[in-house]
Structures are given as C-alpha cells and as structure tokens.
C-alpha cells in the first residue's frame, strides 16, 4: 500500500503512455515521456512558485508584525492569480534605443535555463525527470548560462542602471559559482558519481536505525552545506545578497527596463532558480527523498523531498525577513577570502574523512581540519584591527 502511494506518479505516467507504448516507435515514446515529464515539472513548480510568492509575503508580514495579503480568496491564496492577470495585461514597454532582440531573448533564456536545471533533480523514488550520467554537471552547465542571460538583459536594455546591475550580478555570480561548485565536489568525491540518483542512494542507510547517513551530518558535509546554501543565496540574488537589484541603489538592476510579462518571467526565473538550488541542496546534503528516520519510510518519498525543500525555502524567506543588504565589496571579499578557502577545506576534509575510515575517527579528524582552517581564516580576516573604537565629539 505504501509502495503504491510512493510510486503513484510513476504508475500514472505509465498508464498515460500505455496507448502508444506497443505500437509507436521508440523515439516517439521517449519524446512523449519527456513531454509528460516537462508538463509535470512545469505544473508542479509553477504552482509552487505561485504558492511561495504569496506565502513569502505572508511570512514576511508575520515577521514584520502585520498581515500579509489576505483579501483575494481565502487567506489571500488567490493573490498570485490576481498578480498574474495584472502582469499579463500590463503594457509591455521596450525602450526605443534598446537592442530589441537581446532585450526580448533575455527573459526567455533565463526562464528556460532555470526550468532546465530542475530536470535532473530526483524528486522521489524513480522520480528523476531526466537521468543523465553527469546530472550535477548538467545542473551547473545550465546554471552558468544564467549569467549570459543576465548580461543580455543588462546590455539589451541600453540603460546605465541595467548595465550596472547586470555587472554586479555577474560579478557576484561568477565569484560565488566557484564555492558553489567546489562545495559540491566533496559529495561527488565521496559518492564517486555525478549522478544525482547515486548521490541520493549513497545517503539511504541509517546508523542505529534512526540516524540517517545524510552528508549534512558529517563535519565536511555540514560546512559544505552551509557554504552551498550561502552561495545559493547569492546565485539566486536573494537577501542579503540582492545587490544586483538593490532598489535603493540601482532601481531594479538588470530588470529596470522590463515590465509586464517579461518582468514576471524574471521574477519567476528567480524563484525557480531558488527551487532548483534548494532541490540540489536537498539532493546533495539532506538525503534527497529519504525519510529522516527509518520507520517513517512509509510516507511517500516525494513528500519527504518537498518537506525538506519547503524548510529550505522557509529559511530563504526567514533570512530575507532578518538580514539587511550586504555591501558589494563585502560580498566579493567574503567570496574570495572566506568562501573559497573554506570550500577547498571541505574537499580536503572529505578526503581526510574518507582516508581515516569514514567512521568516528574520520569525523573527528575532518572536524579538526575544518576548525583549524576556520580559526586561521578568522584570525587572518579579522577586521577589528583596522578600526579604532568610535569616538564621539560633542559640542562644547
């Protein structure tokens, strides 16, 4: 029974494909299967986007001691519908001196790549839309295209704010892409595969029946996860790293000249990117669709995946409600002076963990490696020395 719940979507897909599966040629079945996958992906994540956009406002509202949207529909849940209609019927303004083609293509490209990245994440048992041997690499290959799209948006708008915002965005994305990818390396090293399914599979066992073997429970994994999460914040331009669109400084960054549905596309792409990076984080560090304790395995695997995803998304929103925006130079310094060395340390710590037998000894050793580097970096990067205590002068 539990198994049938777990595999209910797989069964549904097979049932949908059954009319053509005996007659049609192979490639047609593949195309049909892919189309079904894409449809399911779009359906689920666009719904999730709608849901999150309203939930974010509500949660932020609660954090700021006010109600969020609560007028449209029950509890304001139809707010995204209203927003969507508004965006669709708004005038689409294209600046006169813009590079029309590039200006048009930028949101298309950014949304397309964001959705493509979703395709390799395993959402449940046997529920990976596209099984690619180098799935993680595919994720990052597609993700790196975002930078080009952002640049296109900035350039195509032919606006100084757009260009500056795009430059900022690309600078911080390139800077944080390195720690992002390098923090994934230890997981890939330990599992020995770039295949997301294998990575999830490697986290499937439990110690003592209730401690799951998620990578986040190792010192290197925990550190890498935190670094990964911070880099993910930057990659999806979320607070506190939202300088590319910091409205008090450069209007809306590379999106300044976009309006109507194109703007909505950017907005959507940002959220989809957030989903993708969180989904990857769940896959890599939080055990994917596995249950946290063994006896809860009867709950369907995709449910676990989305629970973990929701927790990460909540943390995104929580951070947005909590932290102020960081300065540009601070972001870059942090990336190159702290994130990158720490990411490399994670790789070394994972190697240490592996070569000391993956047990308690390895656990302590890798913790030691990370602690030593962390303390060293903290001492080296200590900025307190540079500033004298503030002195006040009063009128005498």
């Amino acid at each position: 029974m539990a198994d049938s719940f777990d595999q209910i979507f797989i069964r549904a897909k097979q049932w949908l494909l059954s009319p053509i599966s005996c007659r049609a040629p192979d490639w047609l079945i593949q195309v049909a299967s892919s189309l079904l996958n894409i449809a399911a992906l779009l359906g689920v994540f666009l719904t999730l986007f709608a849901l999150i956009s309203v939930l974010e406002r509500k949660i932020l509202g609660r954090m700021q001691n006010r109600y969020g949207p609560n007028r449209v529909g029950p509890f304001g849940l139809f707010q995204p519908v209203a927003d969507g209609i508004k965006m669709l019927i708004k005038e689409d303004i294209v600046p006169a001196r813009a590079d029309k083609i590039v200006h048009f293509l930028a949101p298309v490209l950014i949304a397309a790549t964001a959705i493509l990245a979703l395709g390799v994440i395993p959402y449940g048992r046997n529920m990976t839309p596209f099984i690619i041997d180098g799935g993680i690499l595919f994720f990052f290959a597609v993700g790196s295209t975002t930078e080009l799209a952002v640049f296109m948006a900035g350039w195509g708008s032919n606006n100084k704010f757009s260009m500056l915002g795009a430059m900022r965005a690309i600078a911080q994305m390139i800077s944080y892409e390195l720690p992002l990818i390098i923090t994934v390396l230890p997981v890939v090293m330990i599992v020995g595969s770039l295949n997301p399914d294998k990575i999830v599979g490697a986290q499937s066992t439990y110690s003592l029946g209730f401690v799951p073997h998620w990578f986040v429970f190792t010192p290197w994994g925990a550190t890498a996860f935190i670094l990964f999460f911070v880099s993910g914040l930057v990659e999806s331009n979320r607070t506190p790293f939202d300088v590319p669109e910091g409205e008090s400084e450069i209007v809306a960054g590379h999106m300044t000249e976009y309006s109507g549905f194109k703007y909505a596309t950017f907005f959507m792409a940002e959220y989809i990117g957030m989903f993708a990076i969180s989904g990857l984080g769940v896959t890599l560090f939080l055990g994917g669709w596995h249950a946290p304790v063994h006896f809860l395995e009867f709950i369907p695997s995709y449910a676990w995946f989305f629970v973990k995803l929701s927790i990460l998304l909540f943390i995104y929103i929580w951070l947005r409600g909590t932290l102020p925006r960081t300065r540009v130079d601070q972001i870059m310094n942090f990336a190159w002076k702290f994130m990158l060395p720490m990411a490399f340390t994670c790789v070394i710590a994972a190697a240490v963990w592996h070569y000391t037998g993956r047990g308690l000894r390895g656990w302590l050793w890798s913790l030691g490696v990370i602690a030593v580097v962390y303390v060293t970096l903290s001492i080296l990067l200590d900025t307190r020395r540079k500033f004298a205590p503030r002195t006040y002068r009063f009128a005498e």
Binding site: P25, W27, D99, I101, V102, L105, I132, D133, G134, L137, F138, F140, A141, V142, G143, S144, T145, E147, L148, F151, M152, W155, M163, M167, I170, I174, E177, G192, S193, L194, N195
Partner: protein
C-alpha cells in the same frame, strides 16, 4: 530519425556560426557564438560523448562567452564603429573549404556507419584522468594557473 536530428543540429550550428562570423553587431555575434556552442555540444551528445558536451556548455557558455561579452563591454567605445570587410578572407576560407571537402570525398574509407558502443561514463573519464592522463591533467592545471595569472597581469591597470 537520427539523420533528421543530425541535419537539424548541423543547420543550427552552422547557421549560428555563420551569424557569429558575419553579424555586424558584436554583441549579437557573441550571442550567436554561444548558440553555436550549444549546437556543438548537441553534436557531442549525439555522438555519445555526454560529458564533453556538458563541459563544452559549462566552459564556453558559462565562461568564455561571458568573458567575450565582458571584453566587448570594456572596449565599448570601439564597438560602434563600422568596419570594412576583408573579402580576401572569404576567398581563402572558401578555398580551404573546397579543398577539405574534396579531400574528404576522395577518401573512401570514411563512409562508414558507427558501431554500437557503450556510452563513456563520467566515472571512466575520471579514472582515465587520474591514471593514464594524470600528467596532461597536471600540465593543464599549471597552464590554467599560468593563463589566469597572465591574464590578470595583462589587464591590470598600470600605476602611474
């Protein structure tokens, strides 16, 4: 089916390449260049070298294309000027193409159909990189470091 796919990819790639070579606006050319690389990695997927295809996208679109657009941006004041077109290059290119096609057509053994092979897994590539190709790998590492430093020094502002 595969021939159709091949033709489609070939047309996309060559069209994008031609666009990248001839478009008047530099930015459009650079973007076509990126599209061309998508086409080439499609070729790689098509030929069973998925990993190379992914690396191609990763390196060329994620890094080289971004570098090119950055360079375009940094040399912006020179972009708008209209440039002449060196027609002698076209003759050379066409001549080379003719020569190559003639050579290819003259070689008989090339009209073969590939055998079924197992796809090259990432693991196999990784093992090869760490065993047979470990010295080239180290050399490439050194080369990339040198290139990084060299590029940095080249673009550093000269202090007056």
């Amino acid at each position: 089916m595969s021939t159709v796919a091949f033709a489609g990819i070939a047309i996309l790639t060559l069209a994008a390449a031609l666009a990248a070579a001839t478009l008047q606006k530099l930015m459009h050319a650079a973007l076509s260049f990126a599209v061309m690389f998508v086409g080439i990695s499609a070729f790689f997927f098509f030929l069973g070298a998925e990993f190379v295809g992914l690396v191609q996208i990763f390196v060329y679109i994620g890094a080289v294309a971004v570098l090119i657009v950055f360079t375009i941006l940094l040399t912006r004041h020179d972009v708008g000027k209209v440039r002449g077109f060196n027609w002698s290059g076209v003759f050379v290119a066409v001549a080379v193409f003719g020569g190559l096609v003639w050579t290819i057509s003259k070689t008989k053994s090339l009209s073969i159909v590939p055998q079924q092979i197992k796809p090259v897994t990432v693991q196999r590539i990784g093992e090869l990189l760490m065993t047979n190709y470990v010295w080239p790998l180290q050399c490439v590492g050194v080369l990339l470091t040198a290139a990084l430093i060299g590029a940095l020094i080249l673009v550093m502002e000269e202090k007056s």
